[in-house]
């Protein structure tokens, strides 16, 4: 069988097996992943489940290599194109299948909380309604949608449909979901919408029709101005590309809104409300010649508290410059494509939101939180559900039944995906998934060798990587040094003197590294040292012991954080005394590099 040679005219089909060095925090035993193109797949212990995660390479490297300060070791294996596609397809199918199963578990658990809310008559969380202010007659932007619906479906349609939805919402009864079939990791499951999903959809559609009929506007403070719609310095035209793009995108949204209201499908409620929110934002943009986009970051109350340290201000300033550039690039050149693309619009929403949050953080000297939730913008809001189908005296019993269903499915998930240190961890599941891409052990031909999940101590990430290098058809290996190692190498290239090395050898004088909570208390870096590691480890142990002793006294005032750092410092010093290094220090997200 012929495998493409290195240096061929076309890119070589390659799968990369990655081993990520150990460090403090999670995965102190190291971690493994596979890289296919720009995509990385790896299994994580997510609340007890071995969960397949997918990330783009740049983000993965940023998290593990830069922030987490771990070396990443890569072993490239040449494959036939068809074999690479088999592995890619298997990983993709397992990813979407498992996500659907986890979504279903979440939905069953939401049934319980919804029934509790109905019992206590308290508000429930509904995606999409948080974008809006429920004040009537504050916007005329939705009038053309109302006109289009009534022209097509007849006058009074919106009101009658709204009343119909309200009746359905009031009379929707809880029906226990059917017993799910056994879980299969590689077959997309079919689940009927749960009670909470049905309620959310009905409410979202009712909310949308009421908004269209009554002219509910976007809530105050949700829009961000991202720049001029016609930036200066561009070639004068009768209609600027940005305006053409936004006009077309608004037309697309209008079409999607009308279609969703006419033919709703399970899960169509929250996307409908997002479309309506964007529709209003774009209408405002077109009427004011300014880009207005939704703030897609969590509300202030949902953000982490904390003060901004002095040293972070410079880095935050750089981040703001970078975000400002991204916003400017998008505004000046991002919307020149002939067809609208939701992804581009969303990028502007994200960049503008992050810029606003970063600027607020700098001016108010508070920490910032830029991470947003998975999926499209959520627009979480709360409302009391007008559901009277279940008599109050029965609600408790129905809630118990729903809780039992959720528990049953949780147990089913645990049986299928329970994380187990040796038999079902990040390595064993990766090997199982890759092997399952091929029938009748054809992976031996495809990869050049065979690995049994967990056999030959391959459940240990480091050992697994050794076996990959020994058994698979590895064409090359590479080490991507951690952030600290890259910066030490830079100092070395600049002819760093012994004074520089002495300065960087410990946490007290290092200019590259600043101690962080969670890194554990330590004094000396031991990654580069080998024969002196036991001595340095002993020093670290003593330092951590001293820290823990002080922490005993400060525990009542600092929540025992210093004590914890000291105890963990002692624990991570023990391997160093035995010649093994785990701890390397970590960096924050706005690290100087």
């Amino acid at each position: 069988m012929l495998y493409p040679a290195t240096g061929a005219e076309h890119p070589q089909p390659i799968i990369e097996f990655l081993y990520i060095d150990a460090n403090t925090g999670g995965s102190s035993g190291g971690h493994t992943a596979v890289k296919v193109g720009d995509t990385v797949y790896h299994f994580q212990n997510d609340e007890g489940f071995t969960r397949l995660t997918r990330e783009n390479w740049q983000r993965f490297r940023f998290v593990y290599n830069d922030v987490d300060n771990r070396n990443i070791h890569s072993a490239k294996v040449a494959l036939l194109t068809g074999d690479l596609q088999r592995i890619r397809d298997r990983l993709s199918l397992r990813f979407i299948t498992q996500n659907r199963q986890i979504d279903y578990l979440t939905a069953l658990q939401r049934d319980v909380s919804l029934l509790s809310a109905l019992e206590s008559n308290t508000p429930v969380q509904i995606s999409g309604i948080g974008f809006f202010d429920r004040t009537p007659h504050r916007t005329a932007d939705l009038k053309d949608i109302a006109d289009a619906i009534e022209n097509e479906r007849g006058p009074g349609h919106i009101r009658s449909q709204r009343q119909h939805l309200q009746r359905r919402l009031e009379t929707l009864a809880y029906v226990p979901p059917a017993e799910p079939e056994p879980l299969e990791p590689d077959r997309y499951p079919i689940y009927k919408p749960t009670f909470s999903e049905q309620v959310e959809d009905l409410y979202a559609h009712w909310f949308a029709l009421t908004m269209i009929e009554q002219g509910w506007p976007l809530r105050d403070g949700i829009l961000i101005e991202a720049g001029q719609l016609e930036p200066t310095g561009t070639t004068p035209e009768s209609t600027h590309p940005n305006i053409r793009w936004l006009t077309r995108y608004r037309d697309q949204l209008k079409e999607a809104i009308i279609q969703s209201l006419a033919s709703p499908y399970p899960g169509s409620g929250p996307p409908l409300l997002l479309s309506l929110a964007r529709y209003q934002a774009i209408s405002l943009s077109l009427s004011t010649d300014k880009f207005f986009v939704l703030d897609v970051l969590p509300k202030k109350s949902e953000r982490s508290p904390g003060e901004l340290g002095e040293a972070d201000k410079v880095a935050l300033g750089r981040l703001i410059d970078q975000l400002q550039k991204t916003v400017n690039d998008l505004v000046t050149a991002g919307f020149h494509q002939p067809e609208p693309d939701e992804s581009i619009y969303h990028r502007l929403e994200v960049a503008a939101s992050e810029l606003k949050e970063s600027q607020a953080g700098l001016s108010l000297e508070r920490s910032i939180h830029l991470s947003q939730s998975d999926g499209p913008p959520k627009g979480i809001g709360y409302a009391i559900m007008p559901n009277h189908a279940i008599p109050t005296q029965q609600l408790h019993r129905v809630r118990e039944a729903a809780a039992q269903r959720a528990q049953q499915f949780l147990l089913q998930m645990q049986r299928a995906y329970q994380y187990q240190l040796i038999t079902h961890n990040c390595v064993t599941e990766l090997v199982r998934t890759v092997n399952s891409s091929f029938e009748q052990e054809n992976e031996t031909t495809a990869l050049g060798g065979h690995l049994d999940p967990g056999a030959d101590q391959s459940f240990i990430p480091f050992r697994f990587f050794e076996l990959v290098r020994g058994r698979y058809r590895v064409t090359s290996t590479e080490i991507l040094p951690s952030q600290r190692n890259r910066r030490l190498a830079q100092l070395s290239q600049e002819g760093g003197s012994w004074k520089v090395w002495a300065r960087e050898s410990n946490t007290l004088t290092s200019e590259i590294y600043r101690p962080r909570m969670g890194d554990s208390a330590f004094l000396m870096f031991t990654e580069q040292a080998f024969w002196t590691r036991p001595l340095l480890g002993s020093l670290n142990f003593s330092y951590a012991l001293a820290t823990a002793s002080v922490g005993l006294f400060t525990a009542p005032t600092d929540g025992a954080s210093l004590l914890t750092e000291g105890l963990f410092g002692m624990m991570f010093s023990v391997p160093e005394i035995g010649l093994w290094n785990i701890r390397k220090g970590t960096f924050n997200e706005m690290s100087p590099e």
């Binding site: 999607a256 939701e342 992050e354 240190l421 050992r463 010649l579």
Partner: protein
């Protein structure tokens, strides 16, 4: 070639370490700028291939859209011939699209290219595409649905 120091005599010690804290890892506590830490395509120049006017798939999709198309293809392949209903398939598409922060799957050509690709992989003859029960609502969701699906089927 770089090598890693791991004498076999350390293996028992390694096992002990793994016993302590396996390979569990969660980055949920890390807040990262999407525009800085995760997306290689945040600059406008890299957006060039993400929006094409041509209806043929050969006209090009961005890397991100190709990944989305492939997920849809795998979804379609998996549910072809199953009891998935015309009402439930849009829900499955919406969930898949949501992973890519796409809220309107019916406006994305990549959705239909992916369906075509998945049907081909499942061995559905091209002339039977419109007869698949689970595609009932999808075919009416976009006026060019069948054209795009056939394009995805052919590539």
């Amino acid at each position: 070639m770089n090598t890693i120091r791991c004498p076999n005599r350390f293996t028992p010690f390694l096992i002990a370490l793994v016993m302590f804290q396996g390979c569990s890892f969660s980055d949920s506590s890390i807040s990262i700028s999407e525009s800085v830490g995760s997306s290689s395509e945040s600059s406008a120049s890299s957006l060039a291939s993400s929006g094409s006017s041509a209806s043929s798939e050969a006209a090009g999709l961005s890397k991100e859209k190709k990944a989305y198309r492939d997920d849809v293809a795998n979804l379609t392949y998996s549910v072809s011939g199953s009891s998935m209903s015309a009402r439930d398939f849009p829900n499955a598409l919406a969930r898949t699209a949501s992973q890519f922060k796409i809220s309107n799957w019916s406006q994305e050509k990549a959705t239909f290219y992916g369906i075509g690709k998945g049907l081909k992989r499942a061995g559905i003859p091209k002339e039977n595409i419109t007869r698949q029960p689970f595609l009932g609502n999808v075919l009416t969701a976009n006026k060019n649905a069948i054209t795009y699906i056939e394009s995805g089927y052919s590539h």
